[in-house]
Amino acid sequence: MITFDSVTKQFPDGTVAVDDLSLEIGEGEIAVFVGPSGCGKTTTLRMVNRMIEPSSGTITVDGNDIMSQDPPELRRGIGYVIQQIGLFPHRTISENVATVPKLEGWDDDKTKGRVEELIEVVGLPSNVADRYPHQLSGGQRQRVGVARALAADPPVMLMDEPFGAVDPIVRSSLQEEFLRLQREVQKTIVFVTHDIDEAIKMGDKIAILKQGGSLEQYDTPTAILAEPANDFVEDFLGAERGLKRLALIPVSDVAAEEGPVVTPGDDIEAARKRAAEHNLGWVVMLDDDRRLLGWVGTDALDGHQSLSQLEPKPFQAKVAAKDSLRAALNAVVTTHTGVAVRVSEGDHYEGMITRELLTEELL
């Protein structure tokens, strides 16, 4: 756990980089500090391991005041990843990863085992171990940076734009892999970025900072997107605030409607009635095990005695419980039926998400 209590940083030239910051980062949480340049996000991060010393206020890591600890000792317990990575060019990949264990005086066998484990954990092939940093691609170097930071298993990590120097495709896969890794290692992380989308994706909590180092809002991404504290935050979130929020909410969070459901055994009149009840021009056809068969338009019902004579059309877009509401919205706007059909494994029907449900969620 990391706490900031009335922390202020004023540089000798009078610039206030961080202004009376108080917040708490829970154990195992990623707190993303985001804001325009000059908002003090990097200064805040660098105060945690005393690369910059606060002018006033208290920072504690797991209950211990950082100012009462010897800086090199403190830093060995805090992983550090920066955009430029800062690998040691004269050391091989395994030597780079072994940096903190060596400083901590681990024996060679233990260090070697840990290095091998980490190279695998961050998804690097084992043959990079004896190469030098310049022989790796940017994405691979970034993975080495993460491995080096994790080497001595520090409870806390500082990450300053860690994926900022790689191309968007690599960045996105590094982000996802890191989140997967984080679910296992459960570090308490201070993460700095200028990119609000990255903040929304990576953060359990987001701290939005303004020029001059004032904290404008500190909350979960969904809460911030739902209720920006002020105009600055709202502007910073950008125009597609609603869509960004939908991307964070899983389909399972909203109660799907049952909709106009029929089975092949039902008669034509029942189907017409079901469609009319829902104000729709079609019905959903399920088999007796509630497996999805498809949909039938009411105009196709004419001249038939039984639904079993009809060939249902497949739904173009289906969503599952873990998909986001943004995926559901995509289904709503790109299909003829105008709904997202929710299914579980084996195409079992779980209901439909309508435009009205999504609008309600957004308002």
Binding site: R75, I82, L87, H90
Partner: protein, 220 residues
């Protein structure tokens, strides 16, 4: 008809008769090179560290060693005689002073060329200052530092021939000998060996650099 005695450029028999002398001069030359460069580095290195710790010191230190470097060598050797006589220190002290400018400048430039993010990462990993200097910064500065040592070595080897006038000439002694007797063989021997020594020393230092910086080899 007057007889013009044309002494040939090299008389091989002289070389055969003077092998011991040649070896002794060569060893003297080696000693007059190694001591000033080594002592110069021992002095210049802490100066460089100070210049990095307190950047305001760098300009004065550079100016001071620069002034030393511009003193005409012959004058400096002669100035030393009242204090140290015609002994080895009379040659070694000025030769040492001449290496300072190059060694100081290259050590500072080398250490300053260590990328900021690397230094910062080292600090953030929890290196203590001294260990960071020797584990991270000095190794990365080595190519530039060794480049300085190479220039200082070759310059010193060349300057030693001048110290012959105070009787501490190494191979330079052969120049004086050949010149005063109008006998070219020692001159040629001194010249060839001096150049060969300079080239060998330079290649040796280059080899040491390659050995000490394996990460640079893989870059080629």
């Amino acid at each position: 008809m007057p007889i013009v005695l044309v002494e040939e450029l090299i008389r091989w028999s002289w070389i055969g008769d003077h092998t011991d002398d040649i070896v002794a001069r060569l060893l003297e030359h080696l000693q007059l090179t190694a001591i000033p460069v080594a002592v110069g580095f021992v002095i210049a290195f802490p100066m460089a560290l100070a210049a990095i710790r307190w950047p305001q010191l760098y300009s004065p230190l550079l100016a001071f060693t620069g002034v030393l470097f511009t003193i005409p060598s012959l004058a400096l050797f002669v100035l030393m005689i009242p204090f140290t006589g015609l002994t080895a220190p009379t040659a070694i002290i000025p030769l040492t002073l001449y290496t300072l400018l190059i060694l100081l400048r290259n050590t500072v430039e080398g250490l300053n060329s260590v990328p900021r993010d690397v230094r910062e990462a080292a600090e953030a990993m929890g290196f203590k200052r001294f260990r960071q200097l020797f584990a991270v910064e000095v190794p990365l500065a080595l190519p530039v530092i060794i480049a300085g040592l190479r220039i200082a070595t070759v310059t010193t080897i060349g300057l030693i021939t001048i110290t012959a006038v105070i009787g501490q000439g190494g191979l330079g002694q052969f120049f004086i000998d050949g010149f005063t007797r109008r006998f070219p063989t020692p001159l040629v021997v001194g010249l060839v060996l001096s150049v060969a020594f300079a080239v060998t020393a330079d290649l040796l230092l280059l080899g040491i650099q390659k050995l000490l910086t394996p990460w640079q080899q893989s870059q080629e």
